[in-house]
């Protein structure tokens, strides 16, 4: 089992964002759907310890998540947030930063291709990319760390159909090429069925 959540609860500002939530997320690709405000993004952040639950237990491949060192965990379980947030500089400098943090050699061209970006993007200034291009650069940056698990928060929100199809194709290709598990949050049930081996529904 990739992740196992038991009775997980988390409060923010005096209200429960997650309450007594239990789920089993197997290896492979899992899509999480649910209405907005159901705590989907929060759930992803719990899985690589960008936040810790107030109640309950989470296990990652059988280990209690709380016993995992957060920095090492985050290099292994990479999260791509919903809104692109790259560091100032070029696409390549972002990829290099991530690769160096993980102690991995950087294959810039191959990584960009995997994320559905042309290698010519390496030298581009991130400030001059469209949101869709930034989102793919974020995916490429996560891949530069050669993670075992990818957590994707609405990877195609705010994109047109063409850009969405490119990201979906890139993700499908990724799963064929690499042994990587994916947990993906989507507001779109169609996308969840296309990308997930299983679909996990969160209650409102």
């Amino acid at each position: 089992m990739l992740f196992e959540l038991r009775e997980v609860g988390l409060d923010r500002g005096g209200r429960a964002v997650l309450d007594s939530f239990s789920a089993r997320i197997p290896e492979g690709a899992t899509a999480i759907v649910g209405p907005s405000g159901a705590g989907k993004s929060t759930l992803l952040r719990l899985l690589n310890r960008l936040a810790d639950p107030d109640r309950g237990e989470i296990a990652y491949r059988g280990r209690p998540l709380r016993s995992c060192e957060p920095l090492a965990l985050r290099r292994e379980v990479a999260l791509v947030p919903q809104l692109p947030a790259l560091l100032e500089g070029t696409v390549e400098s972002n990829l290099r930063y991530a690769a160096e943090l993980a102690g991995e050699p950087l294959d810039c061209e191959g990584t960009l291709r995997r994320a559905g970006l042309d290698p010519s993007f390496a030298a581009r200034d991130v400030a001059k990319l469209s949101v869709g291009e930034q989102q793919r650069a974020m995916l490429a940056r996560a891949l530069a760390q050669r993670p075992a698990v990818l957590l994707l928060d609405e990877p195609t929100s705010a994109l047109d159909h063409a850009a969405r199809d490119r990201i979906e194709a890139a993700l499908a290709e990724l799963r064929r090429e690499l042994e990587i598990s994916i947990v993906l949050v989507s507001h779109d049930p169609e996308q969840a069925r296309r990308l997930g081996d299983q679909v996990l529904e969160m209650p409102a």
Binding site: R12, G13, N48, R49, L50, A51, D52, P70, L71, A72, L73, R74, R75, A78, L79, V80, P81, L83, A85, L86, L87, E88, Y97, A98, L101, A102, M138, R141, A142, Q145
Partner: protein, 256 residues
């Protein structure tokens, strides 16, 4: 060294004409500052008179312990004052206290160790006051900026933490900008000193009858001492305070 000038009370009283002028302008143009001008004038008289007596007491006693107690009080009040401007930074008091203490001790320690000034009340009190005052402004500006930048850059900092960066690595660009903004005002005013404004020490020395050469040399020493203290305080305050935005598990704390 004997006092170069005698200032009589009637001279001070006469200068109040200029305060009246300022109040009149405010009243005439409805700037709504006349009350503040009166309060500011009254406070300046009371505060400076009290400080004058305190300094006289310390000079007469001529003991280093009283000087150190006065400097410690300045550091404490400076940290309390600066904390209000750093309201967005959690737990800013400790970092500010340490920053001001280190800036004061480091700068004064160096100018004494280098033999620039004797460790006597006559030098330590006024120089210490300037050094700690400027350090307070610099660290307050730096932490104010740090609070704003940490709020603005939240998404980027968390995205960088998500790559397995340490809080220090994730906050580095933010800390750098905060440090810069704490130091830049003094660096800029040092660049234009003498061209656009005459710094206070030089004015004071010239008025007190010192030669221009001595006035300029002393002013330069003080400017450089201030640069050092401003750099120390902005650096120490930002490097200690940014940690308070993170949990021990390298997570961003929820904003209050």
């Amino acid at each position: 060294m004997s006092a170069g000038v005698q200032v009589e009370l009637w001279q001070v009283a006469a200068s109040l004409v200029l305060v009246a002028l300022a109040a009149a302008i405010s009243l005439w143009q409805r700037a709504d500052l006349e009350r503040d001008i009166v309060v500011a004038t009254a406070r300046s008289i009371v505060q400076l008179t009290l400080v004058g007596y305190a300094i006289k007491l310390i000079f007469d006693a001529d003991t280093i312990w009283l000087v150190l107690a006065l400097l410690a009080a300045m550091v404490l009040f400076g940290a309390v004052t600066a904390r209000h401007r750093a309201a967005a930074v959690p737990g800013s008091f400790g970092p500010l206290l340490i920053a001001l203490g280190l800036a004061g001790a480091g700068t004064l320690g160096l100018v004494v160790a280098l033999g620039i000034f004797d460790p006597t009340p006559r030098y330590l009190v006024p120089v210490g006051g300037m050094v700690i005052g400027n350090a307070m402004t610099a660290s307050a500006v730096a932490l104010n900026r740090l609070g704003d930048e940490m709020a603005d850059a939240r998404a980027r900092i968390e995205a960088t933490l998500a790559l397995g960066a340490t809080p220090r690595e994730a906050a580095a660009p933010t800390v750098r900008r905060a440090l810069r903004s704490g130091m830049i005002a003094l660096v800029d005013s040092t660049k234009t000193t003498g061209l656009i404004f005459f710094p206070g020490t030089m004015v004071g020395m010239l008025l007190a009858g010192a030669g221009p050469t001595d006035a300029v040399r002393l002013q330069l020493i003080l400017l450089y001492a201030l640069l050092g203290s401003v750099a120390i305080s902005a650096l120490v305050a930002t490097l200690l305070a940014y940690r308070n935005f993170f949990t021990p598990a390298a997570q961003l704390r929820e904003p209050r």
